[in-house]
Subunit: 331 residues, 2 copies
DNA sequence: GTGAAAGCGCTAACAG
DNA sequence: CTGTTAGCGCTTTCAC
């Protein structure tokens, strides 16, 4: 059994050639005579050779690693995104370091330092409360970055049209006859929040109604099931009496529905619910959830593509998937 | 605005000391005079210095990176596990490279090569169909590995007592009066499958019944919602008429319940369902799912701990959480 | 306490 | 086509 790790030198010795030739076999095989190449390849095989990525990167100055900082890997939205990224990176033999900040600035700072030390080729960033700081930190470090799921004039980005998403969701609720709609929103700094809100307002105005009467916004500290639940409790206590709730994502919707159940309100007859992202579990919930579908896989792919090749940026279109949570007919 | 990346040399020049001193500040600060240290630290600050991980690893011979190969990051089970791992790694300033093989040997081979090239300090492995090959490949490469969620005599491992888990699940179903129980199982090579089956058989024998009459096993190609659904279809067609189904994990259970719904069977009155893992979504499904809870976070932590410190290995105890899917009283 | 210098494994430029 | 060699940024003796 071969011992530890073999180096190019070992391979060269075993094959009776120089390290330069071994390197050529690795990087420009066409420049090496077939016979020599065969010898070298055989030696590699026998010695179980794997090139040392550290040395390689040190020399090359740039690594084949890309980082992605997301808010919560527990949310399948981000794992789907990550798959899209990985698939694209694999094409060019790069790897992903996936970092879940959990919206904790200390964790985030640690990951940022780490990615800088790794010399990542770039970082893919998902919008969250500290996005701006993060982007400027990256710029200061001279690390290219791409903003995912958000669009920006002064930054490379791949986006989804959240105005359209918000509009579709609220137009649907209006069509179902709802006139008091609660929006369980993310932080206002999030572009997604602002855009979806704008879409919601658009939809209401297009229906000839007054947004300030029809829509009420509750901002959630974090986009988790628990905060969704708390947000709904707060809204119910206010006495406004909404008949529908539009949630910033499916996990928030899950929390909201949990609370509705707890307080004996039926979905959708007492309260209609619409989520966002259309996670695979949306269709399997206690009441199947109407949700705005995002093309997460493609989004991840596009972001990685943009980083690697500087492809012009993309704007995806979301699509409303109607289920029982907002439509009794589907019960 | 500082340009690109500063090296120890730059820092040394800026601080008016030698690179050796800079390195000392980094690695053995106590050996450096306070005044000198302050100067160096200030220079680092100004130049926005980050040590180059490649160079460091190249020199050290071993990296501060750990790999984990799991079957499907889309399954929250694995992301929870990953968090546990990351949390432990953070303590010793290591990073995780999370690889989702999707049970595809080509993907897996790619990741294995990649981890070897990265010179990872070790790999944490989750059982799947090709586990044995993977472990021997790692051994051949001289990379330490820890088997997660499975126990082994001749391998470092952290496990959960799946015999107990299987026993608890099936004992519960028997107590509910079920006498024809379907087991939607994983591949037989999976230790988890064998252990849970053993637990199920134990429970049946303890109740004075005949396992061959009470239990029927259907082996699923993959542990996905789709395969769970297909497995159930197959079982229903066979005409045996089970009244309960024990699923290898919650995602499989989700697929099974989808099929029950489709064919108009009520849960739990026509068919009781028990899952495994107790994902956060188990409680939120159309019918809240009874499930065997695993301590995923702790499991991940323990695995990373074992790799880093050679702590003696652990065996966790799972716990059955009963919900409506197997108990009308909770309806 | 601090500096000088060697060397980790690899690549690329150059010589033969 | 193949060999020789310098050097990427860092750590670590070993002198001073």
């Amino acid at each position: 059994m071969t011992p530890q790790r073999a180096s190019v030198k070992d391979v060269a010795a075993a094959a009776g050639v120089s390290v330069g030739t071994v390197s050529n076999v690795l990087n420009r095989p066409e420049r090496v005579a077939a016979r020599t190449r065969a010898k070298v390849e055989q030696a590699m095989e026998e010695l179980n050779f794997h090139r040392n990525a550290s040395a390689r990167q040190l020399r090359a100055g740039v690594s084949r690693t890309v980082g992605a900082i997301v808010m919560d890997v527990g949310n399948p939205y981000y794992t789907e995104l990550a798959r899209g990224i990985e698939d694209r990176l694999a094409v060019d033999d790069h790897t992903l370091i996936l970092c879940s900040s959990d919206d904790d600035p200390r964790r985030e700072a640690r990951f940022l330092r780490l990615l800088a030390e790794q010399g990542v080729r770039g970082v893919l960033v998902t919008p969250m409360s500290t996005t701006k700081d993060r982007l400027s930190a990256l710029r200061r470090l001279g690390i290219p970055s791409v903003l995912m799921d958000s669009s920006s004039r002064d930054h490379a980005s791949v986006g989804v049209d959240h105005v359209s998403g918000g509009r579709q969701a609220v137009a649907h609720l209006l069509a179902q006859g709802h006139r008091r709609i609660l929006f369980l929103a993310g932080q206002e700094e999030l572009q997604q929040t602002r855009h979806r809100l704008k879409g919601a307002v658009d939809a209401i105005q297009s229906a000839g109604l007054d947004p300030s009467e029809v829509l009420k916004v509750v901002t959630l500290p974090a986009l988790t099931a628990n905060d969704g639940q708390q947000g709904l409790i707060k809204a119910l206590e206010s006495g406004w009496g909404p008949t529908a709730v539009f949630c910033m994502n499916d996990i928030v919707a899950l929390g909201a529905m949990r609370e509705l159940r707890r307080s004996g309100l039926a979905v959708p007859s007492d309260m209609a619910v619409v989520g966002y992202d259309d996670l695979y579990l949306a269709a399997e919930l206690m009441t199947p959830l109407t949700s705005v579908r995002q093309p997460m896989r493609q989004l991840g792919w596009a972001a990685a593509d943009l980083l690697l090749t500087d492809t012009p940026h993309v704007l995806f279109e979301p699509e409303l998937i109607v289920r029982a949570s907002s439509d009794f007919l589907r019960r």
